[in-house]
Amino acid sequence: MEYIIIIVSAIFVNNILLSQFLGICPFLGVSNKLSTATGMSGAVCFVITLATVVTYLLNKYLLLPFGLEFLQTIAFILVIAALVQMVEIVLKKISPSLYQALGIFLPLITTNCAVLGVAITVVTKEFTFGDASHMLNLGQAVVYAIATSLGYGLAMILFAGLREHLAMNDVPKSFKGLPIALITVSIMAMAFLGFSGIV
């Protein structure tokens, strides 16, 4: 039951893009085409899950026992940067086709604040399920990371679909490009507000 609550809340109610505002830059940057949006979502999903597991373990077994919580920011960003680099090298060797598909998006992910944001949230925030609030355990952290990145993918792909249609419409000159995209996201965020109160 807890897992279902985490999944629904991370995908719909607290959607990472539309209500937590994490990872907006790549969201606006690569959502012009449906295919690139799908590629980016896949890469982000992969890295968020991996980074959350590694940073969770690092925090629990290295930083907390030695009282080094204040190093979280530096340690996590280094882990993420190294991880992205490693994923790139491994993918290149094992699955060149996937590497080709994700190619240009991988290096960009280091500076995607969704990755660092989720990693920090998981180790610092107390979550409430039903009555008691507590920190996530490793299993819940992994489910939370996967669900959050699915929410990222969902919002990204929906928005890319809308944006492909927008490109064919005649919008006033000063609205062209980002402004009209932001107003569209605003209406999407309003729709997602409808999910609040489910869990």
Partner: protein, 194 residues
């Protein structure tokens, strides 16, 4: 380039929010009120000035291959300094801005200025560029915060002048996107004359 121009460029010509469109996450998330926007802007300004200066000093000795990781560690160090200072002296502000203080590390404005400006200019020029861009960012965040606070809670910097609840949506997520979108239209109309 005159020293003054370095600073004023950050306001209009290189405005990080409306022209360069960088650092969107804190821009949208922390501008629920004018005060929050201002505080977030100043926090970023602090990191931006120090990291610009440090990077312009170390740039000549950093090997090209590892320059991005080195810059990120430098930025992360200053962000940690800021976190510790804020926890000690401004705990309430640190609480409100929450996650978005550590996330200054991945704010593309800071790394962007390191790459585009600080690594090939003198320390003084880099500091001035940091001040200009940082103030431009602060200004945009404060303006967005003011608009959202007026519409969403009928007050400005906490001073309530419209009785009642205001339009709640403007304090929540949709309002952030909408206000930024329309302000960008306005900026395009005025600054780019189109």
């Amino acid at each position: 380039m005159s020293k003054l121009k370095l600073i004023t460029d950050g306001f209009i010509k290189n405005n990080p929010t409306f022209v360069l469109v960088l650092g969107m996450c804190p821009t949208l998330a922390t501008t629920t009120s004018a005060m929050n926007g201002l505080e977030m802007g100043l926090a970023t300004l602090f990191v931006l000035i120090l990291s610009n200066m440090a990077i312009s000093l170390i740039a000549p000795i950093v090997p090209d291959k590892v320059h991005i990781p080195v810059y990120i560690v430098v930025i992360a160090t200053f962000v940690t300094v800021l976190q510790l200072l804020m926890q000690a002296y401004l705990p309430s502000v640190y609480q409100t801005l929450g996650l978005f203080i550590p996330l200054i590390v991945v704010n593309c404005i800071v790394l962007g200025r390191a790459e585009a400006f600080a690594n090939k200019n003198s320390v003084i020029d880099s500091a001035l560029d940091g001040i200009g861009i940082g103030l431009g960012f602060t200004l945009s965040l404060t303006v967005i915060g003011i608009v959202r606070e007026i519409l969403g809670s009928g007050s400005i910097f906490g001073w309530k002048f419209i009785p009642g609840d205001g339009i709640l949506a403007f304090v929540m997520a949709p309002g952030a996107f909408m206000v930024l979108g329309y302000l960008m239209v306005l900026f395009n109309k005025i600054a780019k004359k189109n």
